[in-house]
Symmetry: C2
Subunit: 332 residues, 2 copies
DNA sequence: TTTCCGGGTTCCACGGAAACG
DNA sequence: CCGTTTCCGTGGAACCCGGAA
């Protein structure tokens, strides 16, 4: 008990058993008599003992921990995603530790730490990473799931087809007679995740005989404020604009609020659609028509893929498509 | 290199030095010649080696990791809080790992895991915890900061005076001639954090000669939807309601949207104030008057308190008040 | 129950090179 | 000029806590 830390040996001594019995009491409860086990746990609680996961993982070669590097925790869609992961780890008897990773450099550091912790698997978001990240993960043979993406996976991935979602949204607007349909995308650190929407937009617009000339970029860091700015830019480029496909519900909400200030009727003059089914989408007026991405399922599937891999199951599908829905509300 | 894992010894062999030199190259770069060190790191990168933090923390008795048990990641106020923590850990050369802890039972498990990981400090939210959590932390002598709270701390705490903020908001409404001022509070898992606003409301109302009879409870899990419900309940109780103090901007936004639907003028007939300065507060119309809690500073201070404790500094103040501001916008 | 082992760190001893008398 | 002191980079041994046989 030097340096004040309680060890398994201390617990063993206090409970009058051998250290091995204490270890068994935790890892293989059925190997230890009920009464003995209860006494051990009681003594441990008394002493404030918690098994040292570091020592355990070192000795056993497994940590029962899965790590996630999450780029942003600012919206409710990601929140549902994290809840899905949490559900799946609890079910499998694992623990989930999260690290904040804004941008590929922070992600690289987070992955480095998680690998250092010898987690049994890592969940990333998107498929845009630092080159070191990929090489480190492959060299250490750490199971990785790239979530919210279905292409170019280094290992496994789970998400939905954003190109198809883009096309579906274009078709929805067109089916309501809209012809001057704009697409807003983010630029900056997360650009790649959004850029693939552009060719899908162009292709679908052309297929419908429309001109795909209204692609507008906004900064990802701008939050709500980007909505008004993007709308302003689009209206200057195309006063006859009649539909806007936004990259998130946040942008869409900002755009709708701006329309309110300018006296532009939504959806009368301009239809606005969001993306992500954030909480605000159902609560504001008009309600936002949006893409609903099954965030919870993405999180759950990401964890399950790692757990299955660890259990030696046939690597299953390396890619899981969780699909999406279009939620129709008043804004489009 | 059995079981495919690269160890420090493997790197040492490949670089033609002893394992000790590799260890030094990572932990005390200045002890190793520049050329040697560069060669070692190069070989390590080549092999995909990352020092095993578990082994390191076991041997060194310190992990350079701080853990956070976060109850919710669904709003932008918490997001800024996490960014503040991230900033402070980076500055101090620590790592931050987060675990989701919705409610005191999940928090207990998260704390158990973090203690098992032998993190050097733990950040919690609020001062409402499972009794096991407190006893475990005190018995293991793990530094703890309870953030977003200034009272009843088990160890250290950082936050602002919510009672004073409540009183200030009551005074603001009253100074605009409002007399039928309502207070909405959450009930459920986080209730304690909000309940202390009630006596502050009552006290300030009485001091102003007003009747503090309009306290309304809502479920914390309801998100935006709780706003309309609470407003409805209040209007039934008091048709002459003229001001509402909401527990979050989300509730406030929901209430304002509901007023819009009902044709109630905000702030003409009813003034609405929020709490937390979420992104939506500045972007919606009317903009929300709200309490701005310095979320970033709370996160930063929480980490700094732990780091200072670890560095053996005089325990500084056990409580840090980060203050708050009232942001005046159009809604009140 | 005992013993050994996992991967790394602390502490200290060692040895070569530069600086000094 | 050579022997000695000092400095600094490097390596050896014991040990951290818990798991498996």
């Amino acid at each position: 008990m030097r340096n004040g830390r309680i060890t398994m040996g201390d617990v063993a001594r206090a409970a009058g058993v051998s250290p091995m019995t204490v270890s068994n009491a935790y890892r293989y409860p059925e190997r230890v008599q009920d009464a003995t086990r209860r006494r051990i746990l009681e003594v441990a609680a008394d002493l404030g003992y918690v098994p040292n996961l570091a020592a355990g993982s070192l000795a056993a070669g497994q940590s029962r921990v899965i790590g996630g590097a999450i780029p942003s925790m600012r919206n409710s869609s990601f929140y549902r995603y994290i809840l899905g992961m949490q559900h799946a780890v609890a079910e499998a008897g694992y623990k989930l530790v999260l690290m904040l990773a804004e941008g590929i450099e922070q992600e690289r550091q987070a992955v480095q730490t998680l690998v250092g912790l010898r987690v049994e698997g890592i969940v990333l978001v998107g498929n845009e990473h630092h080159s070191d990240t990929a090489s480190l993960l492959s060299k250490t043979a750490t199971p990785v799931v790239e979530s919210w993406a279905l292409e170019d996976a280094m290992d496994m991935c789970v998400g939905y087809d954003t190109a198809e979602a883009t096309r579906a949204m274009v078709r929805l607007h067109a089916s309501h007679g809209r012809r001057r349909i704009a697409l807003i995308v983010y630029e900056g650190a997360v650009s790649r995740r959004f850029k693939m929407r552009i060719p899908a937009y162009e292709q679908q617009m052309r297929a419908l005989g429309l001109t795909p000339d209204l692609v507008q970029h906004v900064q990802e860091t701008d939050g709500f404020g980007a909505g008004p700015r993007a709308l302003d830019a689009l209206l200057q480029r195309a006063p006859d604009l009649d539909a806007v496909i936004c990259p998130t519900d946040i942008i869409a909400a900002g755009a709708v609020f701006e329309c309110g200030r300018r006296g532009i009727d939504v959806p009368g003059r301009i239809a606005v659609s969001g993306w992500g089914d954030y909480e605000i989408a159902s609560e504001m007026t008009p309600g936002l028509t949006t893409i609903q991405p099954n965030a919870w399922e993405i999180g759950e599937a990401a964890i399950r893929m790692i757990v299955q891999r660890q259990r030696g199951r046939p690597p299953a599908e390396p890619a899981t498509d969780t699909g999406f829905d279009i939620l129709r509300r008043a804004s489009a």
